[in-house]
Amino acid sequence: MRTTQEDHDATNAYQSLADTVGHDDPRWAFGTGVEDVQAEITSPVPDGVDAADLARYCLMLGDDALICAQRLAEWVSNAPELEEEVALANTALDLLGQARVLLARAGHVEGSGTGTARDEDALAYLRAEPEFRNVALAELPDSLDFGRAIARLLVFSTWRLALLHRLLASRDPVLAAVAGKGVKELAYHRDYAARWTLRLGDGTPESHRRMQAAVDAVWPYVEELFRTSDVERRLVGAGVAVDPADVRAEVDGVLDEVLSRATLTRPTVPPAGTVGGRGGRQGAHTEHLGHVLAELQSLARQHPGASW
């Protein structure tokens, strides 16, 4: 064998393998771009803010992102083109990153009084359905129909971007930090979904039909996005949260423009009903969430107490 630069390169790829950093190295804990996140997660609850409310609100936004990321991750190795493989996985990664910070913050804040903080994994893997606080839109299956995936992403990213824009000014430093990073990510997700809505809506007769059907299918779940929960109402007063009802006009405006440019019709279907007035924010979900969690949690629950 020759000893050249190449041998050097090849061996280098291995040399330090056995000294690979320990698994709690913060560089790998949250990915890149949120360097000071550990410090922020443990920052004190802002004055005058109820810790239980703040924890609950972080769970709402965190669960939206986690469950939507899980749905997007179903597309891995199933996308219509390699560019879409990369874009959908990237979107899932961004949302997963947001979810991790928000769940970690929820766990910290919730445990701050009692000294029994749960970490992101305890919250993601060991809660049951009624303890999840995401909206139904995040958990709906798209059954690997690309039109459905795009319709959900268009609505979800338009709505979440509007929320995060307003959260830039939140008095909670973690919410403000998540918003700061998230608005760039969500702007890209929304742009991606809008471009595909145009292509599919104004593409072939078949794609037009399928995209319209996809928009029709997600539309009953739009109403819930603008329903203000009690927790949100209290936190709006404390300068921490956004009232989702306030973003309705902005979201409607964007969706109307995209749909009309895509030659699609804004659906007039009635909103999905609630369970005695309760929806995702109160822990009342569609039947789909149980299946999402069964898959997400199965391995972690098989090995109680193990760390990975």
Partner: protein
């Protein structure tokens, strides 16, 4: 200008470039057999990246922590990116991605035999990173100096990411061997399954590898299959020791005289069977890729129709 040069002069120039260890670029004249060999090799490599998403993709939704989910999702996404660079490199040789994808799903072109084995536990995610990405690095680092420029450049970028994948895989295994008994057993069991298929990733023994010498003469290949396999074994044995696991080969022993590890012969009939289509997952992998491709047809058609409309509106 080139019209005045006859075939012999062109061949002479080509050979000079190869002999000087310089790069052939897409516009340069090249022998038809060189072009065909490269298309086949690059396409096979691209297909491997894409099919390779499936075994690990099988665990993304069930990853046991959010951090592991993020790492795995990012890795599998990288593999899609590798596929894209490699198809783009192949396209510089006058073929296109759609045509190559068609050859993959109709079984006319192959992909790495390793991906025809199933990923059955989360330890497989670590072991695939450690052994499969590790073997890929051994195979691919020399390709960074391949005589065909676009392929060599794609490989430089890809090798950096493969090395990161390997470290992440090994780091998962370190966490698992320091975890519960069940986790340690998973690592050993997974290594037992993947060790021999990993050794087979370097291809048949040199004596049964008729194309090697031509590829080496063309600067497409730099080392024989057996040389690379030996390098891989030599690098991996100490890593297995550091993990405290046993490689499933009683014949594995340091040979002071050779300065290398001796190891037993892999079961070449198994490699032949997997290559010729009867591995545990061949049919499943191709059917999955074909379904995803077919179900994406309406989307690709819509994008093309929309682009045409935009063009005509201009």
């Amino acid at each position: 200008m080139t019209a005045t040069l006859d075939e012999q002069e062109l061949q002479g120039r080509f050979e000079d470039v190869i002999a000087a260890d310089q790069r052939i670029e897409p516009r340069d004249w090249m022998p038809e057999a060189y072009r065909r060999t490269l298309v086949r090799q690059i396409a096979q490599h691209a297909h491997s990246e894409i099919i390779g998403m499936q075994p690990e993709g099988n665990w993304i939704l069930r990853a046991p922590s959010l951090r592991r989910k993020a790492i795995l999702l990012a890795k599998v996404q990288d593999e899609a990116g590798h596929g894209m660079y490699l198809y783009a490199a192949a396209e510089t040789l006058g073929v296109d991605r759609a045509e190559l994808t068609d050859k993959l799903v109709t079984g006319k072109q192959k992909y790495s035999s390793i991906f025809n084995y199933p990923a059955l536990s989360y330890a497989d995610v670590g072991v695939i990173g450690w052994l499969v990405d590790g073997a890929a690095i051994c195979n691919q680092v020399p390709l960074c100096r391949c005589s065909y420029g676009p392929y060599a450049r794609a490989m430089i970028r890809i090798c950096k990411e493969e090395s990161f994948h390997q470290r992440q895989g090994y780091e998962l295994l370190l966490a698992m061997v320091n975890g519960t008994d069940a986790q340690r057993e998973m690592v050993q069991e997974s290594t037992n399954r993947f060790w021999w298929p990993s050794l087979m990733m370097f291809g048949p023994p040199d004596a049964d590898s008729p194309n090697t010498s031509q590829s080496m003469a063309w600067g497409i290949k730099r080392h024989t299959n057996d040389e690379l396999r030996q390098r891989f074994v030599d690098m991996t044995v100490p890593q297995a020791e550091a993990l405290g696991i046993t490689l499933p080969d009683p014949g594995l022993a340091w040979n002071e005289e050779r300065g290398h590890y001796d190891f037993s012969e892999p079961d070449w009939t198994e490699l032949q069977a997997v290559i010729s289509g009867s591995g545990p997952c061949n049919a499943q992998r191709i059917a999955h890729r074909k379904r995803a491709h077919d179900e994406g047809e309406w989307v690709r058609e819509a994008a093309a129709a929309y682009a045409r409309k935009q063009e005509s509106r201009r």
